[in-house]
């Protein structure tokens, strides 16, 4: 009898659970009612490169608002983020490159207007194994020889790139093809966005790339400068020669644009309609106001104060559209960015 009693209790519990799903269904129909949508949630998604900055801002913002506004941040990559943004699913999109022509059209079709705001600078670092004694700097042409689509299956040894380099197998590591970082690197090096050889180890997790390069004598990889800064003992940084002699990435060279062409501004895109909501407006103002300190804390390179001021102005005037015209621009310097911002 005892068995039966216990068993029945369990069974009743299961039925109750089933019942709760039913009740849940009733709630679902209620979900579309205005009461639910009035809750103050700011939805952000997009680039994993911009994520640490947005996360820091969201953290501080929620503290400042004492939890009355909820902020969610996802990592779908710049491209994935724009897909959601153009469907109106998110209020703000993190982007590690300017919006592309295709994405502009998708937004236009859905009737979504957006405000483009640069928030920080990021340098892409090219890295080799510390045991690699033959490379201290590379030219853009050499990198192109390695990464262009035609190199696939052919440029497999260092000696093929430069006859002075040894006959060591060349192993390549790079971010996944859905990331803005990949888009930007191919644009800057190969000359065409997303044009790259396919036979390299791709990972969305930059630590996998760090491990790969660190354990392979013939390894070469590229990823955000912040990852080098944390792993400087395991990796060797390569100076990039963009035509004016080799330059190593550092806070200074990224900021003044001499680390060419692998430094880039990163952005947030705000849905203009969402910006009418007071909490979104407040969040963006908070973002631009606190960016100089927060960007530094998460190891990125802040824009000059002037740039944040111009961005804030742009936001308060609700200037929509992109200053990049849907084209990928390489090595935009701060001054150019400011000029472009002013023109609008």
């Amino acid at each position: 009898m005892k068995v039966k009693g216990l068993a029945m209790a369990v069974f009743a519990l299961l039925l109750l659970m089933a019942g709760s799903v039913q009740v849940g269904n009733v709630v679902i129909t209620g979900m579309l009612s205005p009461a639910w949508s009035q809750e103050k949630i700011i939805k952000i998604d997009g680039s994993s490169t911009v994520y640490p900055i947005t996360e820091a801002v969201a953290e501080e913002f929620q503290k400042a608002k004492k939890g009355t506004v909820k902020v969610t941040v996802g990592i779908s990559g710049t491209g994935g983020g724009f897909k959601k943004f153009s469907r109106g699913e998110t209020d703000i999109s993190d982007a590690s490159r300017p919006i592309t022509q295709k994405e502009i059209e998708a937004c236009k079709e859905a009737g979504i207007q957006y405000i483009e705001l640069p928030v920080a600078y990021d340098g892409l670092a090219v890295m080799v194994n510390p045991k690699n004694s033959w490379v201290t700097s590379m030219t853009v042409a050499q990198l192109k020889r390695i990464w262009e689509p035609a190199a696939e299956g052919k440029v497999t040894k260092w000696s093929y790139v430069n006859s002075a380099w040894p006959d060591v197998a060349l192993k390549l590591y790079g971010p996944g093809v859905d990331s803005g970082t990949f888009d930007y690197f191919t644009e800057a090096i190969v000359g065409k966005s997303r044009a790259s050889r396919g036979d390299f180890t791709a990972s969305e997790d930059d630590n996998v790339l760090v491990q790969g390069v660190a354990s392979d004598k013939g390894g070469l990889g590229f990823f955000g400068y912040a990852y080098y800064a944390e792993n400087s003992d395991k990796l060797k940084l390569v100076a990039i020669d963009g035509g004016k002699g080799p330059v190593l990435p550092s806070e200074k060279t990224v900021m003044d644009g001499t680390y060419y062409p692998l430094s880039r501004p990163i952005f947030i895109y705000v849905n203009k309609k969402s910006a009418q909501r007071p909490e979104v407006k407040e969040f963006v103002d908070f973002y631009l106001k606190n960016a100089p300190t927060l960007v530094k804390q998460v190891k990125y390179i802040p824009l000059p104060d002037m740039a944040y001021k111009l961005a804030a102005e742009r936001f308060s005037k609700r200037v929509t559209g992109t200053v990049f015209g849907g084209e990928a621009k390489v090595g935009v310097k701060i001054e150019d960015l400011l000029k472009l911002e002013k023109k609008k």
Partner: protein
């Protein structure tokens, strides 16, 4: 004495000792194979503990994610995981048990049940990302549940449904037919037999299957990412208990969420090593959650087995 040492006997002794040697060799190979698995698991756990244990504190459980690794915690992640698991259990268990009972007790052995059976066994082996893609269309776009706890829970519910069905069927099958016949002989109807005998006797096996299914679901990341679990969530879903009528609220079902494996993945992909320690600590918590569930399954099975006397 010399007379017993015939050549045949010598031959036989030789064979016996060579067989013993083989036996011995296999014993060593078997032991070695077992030890490899054990050593791997052990190293992994030790490594996890060395990295993560110092990070475990009350603060770690009660804080939201943060850009400062020392301040970051897993509050939103573990609450999200538990809520998603509740929805998963509520969706998969009644459905799975009902389907299992039908297939074993009611379903006639024809081509239809055969087809269902084959499908069920195959479904258990489908990669979880496929379930994620199905759920993205079904729950997020078609039923418009949004990227919510409900969607996440139902997705994982689909994932473990075949396991619950298979466990239910196996434990029902273990009940001897004489029990059913005795019940019918006393005039009980089919439903009475199922309700009073079949379910009580098989509940141990069913619960085990359910908990093992849930322990698989708790570590799943791929389908949950596909349906849109988020990475940074610094608030809890709305409370299920409210001060006004009707005192119960199901609004949390539609709130955005994150779960433990996603929080871990995010931390492990950060450049700073301090975040990697956080990931190890979250790994320990997840491991303990799974072990507790599995332990509970073993206990339940033991209890129910002990009480059944046929």
């Amino acid at each position: 004495m010399q007379a017993t040492e015939q050549p045949e006997i010598l031959e036989m002794r030789k064979r016996i000792s060579s067989n013993k040697l083989r036996d011995h060799i296999f014993w060593i190979v078997g032991l070695f194979s077992t030890l490899i698995g054990f050593a791997l698991l052990f190293t992994l756990i030790i490594d996890l503990f060395i990295d993560g244990f110092p990070r475990l504190s009350w603060h770690f459980f009660t804080s939201y994610p943060s850009r400062f690794p020392e301040q970051a915690g897993i509050l939103s992640a573990w609450v999200g995981t538990i809520l998603v698991m509740m929805v998963t259990a509520a969706a998969a268990v009644p459905l799975g048990i009902a389907a299992g009972i039908y297939l074993e007790e009611y379903g006639k052995k024809n081509w239809l049940t055969h087809l269902i059976e084959i499908n069920m066994n195959n479904l258990a082996g489908v990669p979880s990302i496929i379930y994620g893609l199905l759920a993205l269309w079904l729950f997020v776009y078609f039923l418009k549940f949004g990227e919510s706890i409900l969607t996440g829970g139902l997705t994982l519910g689909l994932l473990i449904l075949p396991m619950v069905v298979i466990a239910t069927r196996e434990s029902i099958r273990a009940i001897p037919n004489s029990i059913r016949e005795a019940s019918y002989a006393l005039g009980a109807s089919k439903w009475q037999t199922i309700k009073d005998h079949i379910i009580p006797y098989s509940v141990g096996g069913i619960l085990t299957g359910m908990i093992i299914g849930l322990s698989r679901a708790i570590g799943e990341t791929a389908p949950i990412i596909t349906v849109g679990a988020l990475t940074f969530i610094a608030f809890l879903p709305s409370s299920p208990v409210t001060s006004g009528f009707p005192f119960l609220s199901f609004k949390w079902l539609l709130d955005p969420f994150t779960v433990m494996p996603i929080q871990m993945f995010n931390w492990i992909s950060r450049p700073q090593t301090a975040f990697h320690l956080n990931a190890a600590a979250a790994g320990i918590v997840l491991l303990v959650m799974t072990l507790v569930m599995n332990g509970f399954a073993i206990y339940v099975r033991y209890r129910f087995r002990k009480r059944i006397k046929w």
